[in-house]
C-alpha cells in the first residue's frame, strides 16, 4: 500500500538534535530537548512515555505540522522547515497520513466522503477516488458502512474510517497519536490488529501511545521522558 519515494536504505524519517520550546505564561517550556532518531521504511515504531514527556510534540514534528525550535527533521529526504506553508501542506497531503485519538472525522460527511476528502484535495478524478474509497473501506472492513455518518458509527468504526482516510493518498508514513485512547479494550485490539496488518502490507507506522498492548505490537519501542529519548528497543526486526 505504500509507494517508494526515496531510493536505497535512506531512513524515511531522520531527526537530528531536534528541540521544541513553547512559551507558556512568559516562560519557555522545553517539550522536546535534543532528540535524534531515524525511522526506516517499513518500520512500525511506538513512542511511549508518561504524559507531557514530548511524545505528541515529537510526532507533530515528524509529521511536519510543527516546526522545531532547533535541530533538523528530514522526512522522505525533504526538510519541511525549508518549505513554504503551501509546499509543506501539499507534502503532508501526499506523503503523510494522520490518525488522531479523537478520530476527527467530518461529522457532515459520510464515511466514504471522509475517506475521499484528501483525494479530492489532491485533485484525483472522481472515478479514481470512488474506486480507491471502495478499496480502502473494504481494507478496514467497513465496506457496508460507506454511507453512514460518523455519528452512526461506533468508536472503533470511526477510527477505522480515520485510518482509511489517512491511507487515502498512499502515504509513505502513517502517524498515529493515541489511536486506541478513546476505545474500549476489545475495539482497541481490533485497531491494533489493523495496524499490524497495515505494517505487514508495507506501511511505515509511527504511533504515540500509552497503550502497552499497542506498544508491544510495534517492532520498535522508543521510550521518552522529559523531552528526550531514554530507551530505544527493537522488539522484532523488519521481515
Amino acid at each position: 500500500m505504500t509507494k517508494p519515494l526515496i531510493a536505497g536504505d535512506a531512513p524515511i524519517v531522520s531527526a537530528r538534535d531536534v528541540r521544541r520550546d513553547y512559551p507558556l505564561e512568559g516562560e519557555a517550556v522545553h517539550a522536546v530537548r535534543g532528540v535524534s532518531l531515524d525511522v526506516e521504511r517499513g518500520e512500525y515504531v511506538a513512542i511511549v512515555g508518561p504524559s507531557g514527556c514530548g511524545k505528541s510534540t515529537l510526532l507533530n514534528l515528524i509529521g511536519a505540522i510543527d516546526t522545531p525550535s532547533g535541530g533538523t527533521v528530514s522526512i522522505a529526504g525533504r526538510d519541511p522547515s525549508a518549505m513554504s506553508d503551501r509546499e509543506v501542506t501539499r507534502f503532508r497531503l501526499e506523503h503523510i497520513g494522520f490518525v488522531f485519538q479523537r478520530f476527527y472525522l467530518m461529522p457532515i460527511l459520510s464515511a466514504a466522503e471522509n475517506v475521499e476528502l484528501p483525494m479530492a484535495e489532491r485533485g484525483l478524478d472522481k472515478q479514481e477516488r470512488r474506486a480507491r474509497v471502495r478499496e480502502l473501506l473494504a481494507y478496514v472492513e467497513l465496506a457496508g458502512r460507506a454511507r453512514h455518518r460518523p455519528t452512526q458509527l461506533s468508536g472503533g468504526e470511526q477510527q477505522r474510517v480515520a485510518i482509511a482516510r489517512a491511507l487515502a493518498n498512499s502515504p509513505d508514513l502513517l502517524l498515529a497519536d493515541e489511536p486506541t485512547g478513546e476505545l474500549d479494550a476489545r475495539t482497541g485490539t481490533d485497531i491494533i490488529a489493523l495496524f499490524e496488518r497495515l505494517n505487514r502490507d508495507g506501511t511505515t507506522i509511527v504511533v504515540v501511545t500509552h497503550d502497552e498492548q499497542l506498544a508491544r505490537a510495534a517492532r520498535r519501542v522508543i521510550h521518552m521522558r522529559d523531552g528526550i529519548i531514554v530507551h530505544d528497543e527493537v522488539l522484532r526486526a523488519i521481515a
Binding site: 505528541s56 505540522i65 501542506t89 497520513g97 488522531f100 460527511l109
Partner: protein, 395 residues
Amino acid sequence: MRLFLALASLRRHRSRTMLATAGVAIAAALLLDMVMLSGGMRASFGNLLTAQGFQMRLPPRGTLPFDTEATIDGAGEIIAMLRQKSEIIAVSPVLGATVRTTRDEHPVTAFALGIDPSVQGDYRMESGRDATDSSSLVANVEFLHAAGLQLGDTITLAAGYNPQLRAFTGTRALTIAGRARFIYLSTGQPAVAMPLRSLQAMSGHLKDDAVSVFMVRTRPGADVEAIARWIQGTIPRVDAVSTAQALAKVDERLSYFRQLSFILGAVSLIVGFLLTTTLVTVSVNDRVGEIAVMRAIGVSRAHVVHQVLLEGTAISLGGALLGLALGLVTARWLNTILSSFPGLPAAIDFFLFQPRAAWTALGLLVLSGIAAGIYPAWRAASLPVARTLREEAVA
C-alpha cells in the same frame, strides 16, 4: 467539494443558519425597500408626467401647475402663439375649479377640469363617451358614487356659492356622458371634466378666457429645453416647466427622502454584514479542531478560506433572495398605505421596482456576505495546527 462542505457546514446547525438567514433577509428587504423608495417616487413621477406624451407644462408665472388658484388669461391667444412653433404639435389648455352639487340636500364637492377633449391628457375613458359638447361631462367613479348618479343622468353643477344669499352660483345642467379615470388626481377624489368653455362660463372665466395650465406636446426629437426657453421669452405670463425641470424640482423636494433611504439602506447593509460575520465566526470557532485536522491531513489554506467565504456567501445569497421576495411584498403593502396619502396622484408609487437598482442592492448584500467571511476565513486559515490540536486534545 468546497461548496458541498460549505453547505454541509451550514446544514449542521440548521436553526442557527435559518435564523441568521432570516436576519439577513430582513436586512435585505429593508435595503431593497430603501432603494425602491429612494428612486421610486422620482421614477414614478417621471412616468406620470410623460405617460400622456406631454413634455412641458405652462403654469402661471412664478407658480407650479395647480399649486395655486392663479390663472392665465387669453388662452386662445397663447395657443395661437404656441402653434406658430413647428416643434409644438399639440397644446392642451386645462382649467381647474371646484364644483358642487347636492345629494339628498347634502353637498357633494368635486374637482372639475375644463379641457379640450380632442387633446386632453388628464383622464382615460373607462365607459360611455367623452364630453364633446357644452352640455355634457365625464366623471370618475368616486363622483358617481358620492352623487348617487349613473351614466346618462343630468345634474346641476355649481362653480361657486354665495354665502349671503345661501345659493349656488355659476350653475349649469350637464349630462353625464361617460366614466373616466383621472390620472393626476389622488385616490378617492371625486372629479369631473367638461369642455373648457363650459367650465370657464360656470366659473366666470369666459370673458378673460382663463386657464390654469397648458400642457404642451412636442415633436419627437425636438429640443424641449430650447422650446421652453423660447416660451419663457415669448409669453411673459407663463413659466415653461419641462419634464426634466419638474423632475429636478421633485429631486429637490425628495432629497430628504433619499438621504433617509441611503442611511437606512446603509444601516441594513451593515446589519446584514455583522449578522453574517457573527454566524460564520461562531461556526469557525465551533470547528477549530476540525479545521486544524483538515490542515494537518493536507487540506490547503486556500481550501479553508474558500470554504468559509462560501459559507458567508451562501448565507447572504439565501438571505438576499428571501429578502427580495420579502422586500417586494413589504413594498407593495407600504405603497398601498402611502399612496392613499391625501393630495397625491393615485398613480404615484412610492416604491417602484427598478430591476437595475434592485440587483445592485442585492449584489451589494452578497458582496457584503463575501466580505463578512473574510475575518472568519482569515482566522480559520491562520490557526496554528499543532497548537490547536494540542489544545483540543487537552479540552
